[in-house]
Symmetry: C2
Subunit: 727 residues, 2 copies
């Protein structure tokens, strides 16, 4: 496999482009692409390729790529699907390292399309990088590159990159971002992603000097494991903002394990966001707001907001939005509180955080003093200003003669900027659209100008309290995750362990059938997971001597490759207190099995010491179709099954992952020891999860595992039953 970032820069900074399929018809996509590049101001060389025609937009049309006398960095291919394979061959002959396949009609249309894609990849692999098919390709103002419909896009380069399969949505995102002071370094619409996929692009952009913020819209991910690894190894270097769409996109996968039947479509994505510093956004508003906020405050910010509102309801609404977002409004220091009281001696104000200054147009001096006080308070990470009317015109409409004079407009705007620069503490402003009728368009013009002024001075502006706190909480989360350095990078694998050898041995013997309890526990034990050790007994006498050796009470279970649901047929006997009961149990099991599972091959019965009562847990693994092995942790028992109180993490787990996945279950308080009951040894459970993760990582042949139950005690925990399902 070639280095994923190989040749990727050719797509964004090509010195020469060949447009394959640029006919004399100016409505052909090829011709439109050339026109778009000209309009956009592309400075490199352009070559038109088509099987007929003389010239297009002043460019001579070449018949074949090999006719072009110069070196070509990038081919843009817009010809019918059936001809693409030949063209890719020609590209390789011409030593072109990058091609955008614009054409649609591949895997998205059915089997024939899939076959075409395979053929093309077979030709391209290792020789040329492909973007597409069925895509818009790259946009890169720094390289003078835009896409077919993008001639009107901003030519101004920025430091935000966008990854999105959909070119049309990119139009929306990039258009909207214009008004929020965001400009782009690179965008790639990569369509069906037969070669270049989101993992390649993420990897490339992570190392790209032009890019400071990475944003992405994705409905699914092709190489989830690699994407996860790259996102995690990022460790907060650059904010990665992901709008994951398609809640109903991927159907559940048929599953024979408990874990598999509980895991839902979004569990893996939720785990992804828990395990990386990537930021999850859920719609276009949150995407643009969050991007715009990072653009102003690239390092993120803390979660303690000082909030000022020119009115009481605004304070309540802000507090609600803050609470919902997970941010905090801390109490001010006593000094700040005292000085606030000096500043606002009158009634009609509330000077605790959130601050209500009573009316929306404070004097400039008062606003400055207020923001200064809040910025100086060390309990405060960010200042959020709401319904202070920065538009004097609007003030006049709402408050008539009590509004400030027109000539103060600019001075008013400078206040938050000055304070922000003085204290190096972020300030955010909520600037709502108050009058949205056609007649009030002049006000909208002014609103946009004020907004632009703030954005250009590093102050993010939001349309509402909810949107402000939603975006700012994303900044806070990034800072916390990245700043704390608590996402350990995934490192390479060690050499195979003893456990691996045992696993391979058992796999050979069972021939891909479900591993029985004894086999499964043998493997668990090799990875350091504590189990109730079963002994195999093939006769009543063997059972008796095993029981004496283990000490009472004991549990007996049938061992047979044909019998997986042991209890259902009477193949399990628990709490056996003495030799008499062991004898009866042995014979009872044998009788039951003969009746209900006639013909099953009986290896014997497993006997083990009965575990002391404790807290019943389940640990399991299932495979997510995108991200691969995914570990589940939860409380056991029927009620928890109904409530699905479980957490998931993508394998491999970090120590932090293990800790947080235990804490995430709602019944965590039981593990802590609820109302004086004995709790669980949580540190031991964390270790067990890490060992389990190691086991899964080292044995990719495992499709699913259930350890059900694990019983947890004040000191330690033990796996009481287990089964492993190989692929």
């Amino acid at each position: 496999m070639p280095d994923s970032s190989m040749y990727l820069d050719h797509f964004f900074h090509p010195e020469s482009i060949a447009v394959v399929g640029a006919s004399e018809n100016s409505l052909s996509y090829g011709a439109r692409y050339i026109q778009a590049l000209i309009d956009f101001g592309y400075k490199g060389k352009l070559y038109a390729i088509n099987h007929n025609g003389d010239n297009i937009l002043g460019y001579k049309i070449f018949r074949k790529l090999s006719d072009v006398p110069d070196k070509i960095d990038l081919a843009f291919v817009s010809i019918p699907a059936g001809f693409i394979a030949d063209i890719i061959r020609e590209c390789i002959e011409k030593d072109i390292k990058a091609a955008v396949v614009f054409t649609a009609g591949f895997s998205e249309t059915g089997e024939h399309g899939c076959a075409l894609e395979k053929e093309i990849m077979g030709i391209a692999a290792g020789k040329i990088r492909l973007m597409g098919p069925n895509c818009f390709g790259p946009y890169c103002p720094g390289g003078g590159i835009t896409f077919v419909t993008g001639s009107s896009f901003s030519c101004e380069p920025g430091s935000t990159a966008l990854i999105a399969q959909s070119g049309q949505l990119a139009e929306c995102i990039i258009g909207r971002a214009l008004g929020e002071g965001v400009r782009y370094s690179k965008f790639a619409s990569y369509g069906n992603a037969i070669d270049i996929n989101e993992a390649d692009l993420l990897d490339f952009l992570m190392q790209d000097d032009e890019t400071r913020i990475i944003t992405s819209y994705m409905e699914g991910v092709k190489d989830g494991s690699r994407f996860f690894e790259i996102a995690r190894n990022n460790s907060g270097k650059k904010p990665v903002i992901i709008w994951k769409a398609g809640l109903t996109g991927i159907g559940a996968v048929a599953s024979s394990s408990h874990t598999g039947s509980i895991a839902g479509t979004n569990d893996a994505w939720n785990a992804f966001f828990s395990q990386t510093s990537a930021i999850k956004v859920t719609d276009l508003d949150e995407m643009t707001d969050t991007t715009a906020a990072f653009n102003c405050i690239p390092e993120g910010c803390g979660s303690r907001a000082a909030y000022v509102s020119g009115g009481g309801a605004g304070a309540v609404i802000g507090a609600d939005a803050c609470e919902i977002s997970g941010m905090q409004m801390p109490a001010f220091s006593p000094e700040t509180e005292e000085r606030l009281r000096e500043l606002f001696p009158g009634t009609g104000t509330s000077l605790r955080n959130p601050v209500d200054i009573g009316n929306p147009h404070p004097s400039i001096e008062l606003l400055e003093a207020l923001l200064e006080l809040m910025s100086a308070d060390e309990n405060v990470d960010i200042i959020v200003v709401r319904r202070v009317l920065f538009s004097v015109k609007l003030s006049r409409i709402f408050s008539g003669s009590t509004a400030p004079p027109e000539e103060q407009q600019q001075t008013l705007l400078e206040v938050p900027v000055r304070i922000k620069n003085k204290y190096k503490k972020p300030v955010a402003i909520i600037l709502s659209e108050d009058l949205t009728d056609v007649k009030s368009l002049e006000l909208e013009k002014e609103r946009r100008e004020i907004r632009d002024y703030f954005f250009s001075n590093g102050i993010p502006v939001f349309l509402s309290e909810q949107r402000a706190f939603r975006a700012l909480s994303n900044l806070a989360r990034f800072r916390q995750r990245a700043g704390a350095g608590n996402i350990p990078a995934i490192t390479g694998k060690d050499k195979p362990s003893e456990g691996r050898e045992v696993f391979i041995e058992i796999l050979k013997n069972t021939g891909s059938k479900i591993f029985n309890e004894i086999q499964s526990k043998t493997i668990l034990k090799k990875y350091g997971i504590n189990v109730t050790e079963p002994m195999l007994a093939k006769s009543e006498n063997e059972a008796l001597s095993a029981a004496e050796k283990l000490g009472y009470p004991v549990v007996m279970k049938i061992v047979s490759p044909q019998i997986t649901h042991k209890s259902d047929i009477g193949g399990v006997k628990t709490d056996l207190q003495g030799s008499e009961q062991v004898k009866n149990a042995y014979n009872g099991i044998m009788k039951a099995v003969k009746e209900k599972a006639a013909g099953a091959f009986i290896e014997g019965v497993s006997i083990q010491k009965m575990a002391e009562p404790g807290i019943e847990l389940v640990i399991g693994m299932t495979r997510d179709p995108q991200f691969g092995p995914m570990l589940m942790f939860g409380l056991g028992g029927t009620l928890v099954e109904v409530l699905k109180d479980v957490s998931f993490r993508i394998v491999p787990l970090s120590g932090e992952d293990a800790k947080s996945m235990i804490k995430q279950v709602k019944s965590y308080r039981l593990l802590e020891g609820y109302r004086g009951r004995p709790g669980a040894d949580i540190e031991n459970l964390e270790k067990m999860l890490l060992k389990f993760s190691e086991l899964i990582k080292e044995n990719p042949e495992i499709k699913e595992i259930d350890i059900n139950p694990v019983i947890a005690y004040k000191d330690g925990a033990v796996a009481v039953d287990a089964r492993i399902i190989p692929d």
Copy 2:
């Protein structure tokens, strides 16, 4: 108590207004109010009242109200707080029936203010209706009334009313609504609500012919029980949209019951919305979107949306937004599907719902045919159109030469209107702000014009998929709740029952202490709730003969007014299988009680038959500070305590409430009989809840109740332990 709506119309349609505190100083609020009324075009008579000055804005200043020669409908009072009481007296002498007290500085500032409010209400009660203090008062374009800062508000009357304590927020709401085609009938900012509160206004507006939609912003509610009753009796006549703000507003109330300690601040509000057809919105966007949608589609709509997007990502985003909102995207009928395939024979489209037509500018014929097909499909309740570019200008920017010609603009807009009118099926349009920079203001102007065109033709327009579906799902919920007529109105009380008499008797005897198990069960039984009947035994012998009578196994518990946590001190013995065990238990309990609760008065022990194992439930009641008695239902046991898997409803319950509160708990599947286990007799539980509601309603002296546990069986259920805590 006077009729709540008494004189309320004086506030909105006064023929004469006296402004008390209108000085010659044009910056005084009184003077500003007169100016605002003049500017707004008030047609009635205006009188200025002040202790000095000659005239203001051409109006003679009277010294006293009694000096005014005419009848006065409404007094607007803006003088210092200390003088208000006297002025209210003068109002009453002058036979004024309505006064707005604009002045602040009352209960919101502390005790002295509270006392002033009480004094004023003492004077006013039954004689004059007061709005305020600390409020902006009414706005009513139909009556020519606006508030101090509202001279620029729309003079055009509409059919939406707004209830909100905050006048400033009302400015925002009314201003924003301008752009969404919404005009107001009435608004009242009622401040501290010493007389007129949200319940009065809701009642009044419900009967108001000028008002079709009622909207409200509230942080709390003064008379929650009445507000609940009015909202519920509405039964879907008019949409009532409530933005409930202040998540952290009301502190938890100290509580000695299990139920009380679980109930949170928002449980009562959530119950309120479950039990009425009122619509909950959570921010200004949702408020304006929902109002605007109802304004176009007053009867609400069904929840099955046909969705069309000019692009694939838009289809996915729409499907996500739809799913989150609780709406559905149904499959089309086979005929629709077939005709769609004829309409769009090419590739690059997806013709199942959500429909992706591949590009954002279909021909007019194609768009018309598509909308027609979807409207005709009987599986479809509403059509939602997304990213079909209704602006030809915008089309041109994104798609250049492939965009439709400029002269088609108007014809394009008429398509959805024509289809909507033809099929009488609602159509909604998502019209996003694509370019938000200052330079693109011309596009914004056009967007607003297009938006206004659709709104004025009864088609609601939204800025995003999320906002569209959020609002439309509110319409669907209203339609479902109101249309199904499944909210039974609360009717008057019957005459006291036998249970009430027993309750009063026990209350007298206990002297407001906690009722013991035997007393509590006696009351439960009187209300028809099945209990395990306890017998009181005062000696070992009495215990023995009771046990023989009941039949084994039995349970024994200490009965003492001083001992509430019986198990904790060894005062409970279960599963007693014979006379020997009963004797031992009796003596054991007595010994334990003497040791651990020395000095407690021992009434004896209760003996009852031990209940068969079943599903453990909890039923309880606590008092919400706003809405009063609130019933709780949930599964019992420690795990459920940790998970707080419970539901709440405000008392009294309807049959529908009982049904839905049982269904609401996450562990409902256990009650249905999970994985072949015996379930519960759900109908019986519903009846038990209704009887319990009746008990609570009839005995207002009860502060809290716990029935813990109730054990539910396949047939019936039984209350095993209970206690009642009187106020």
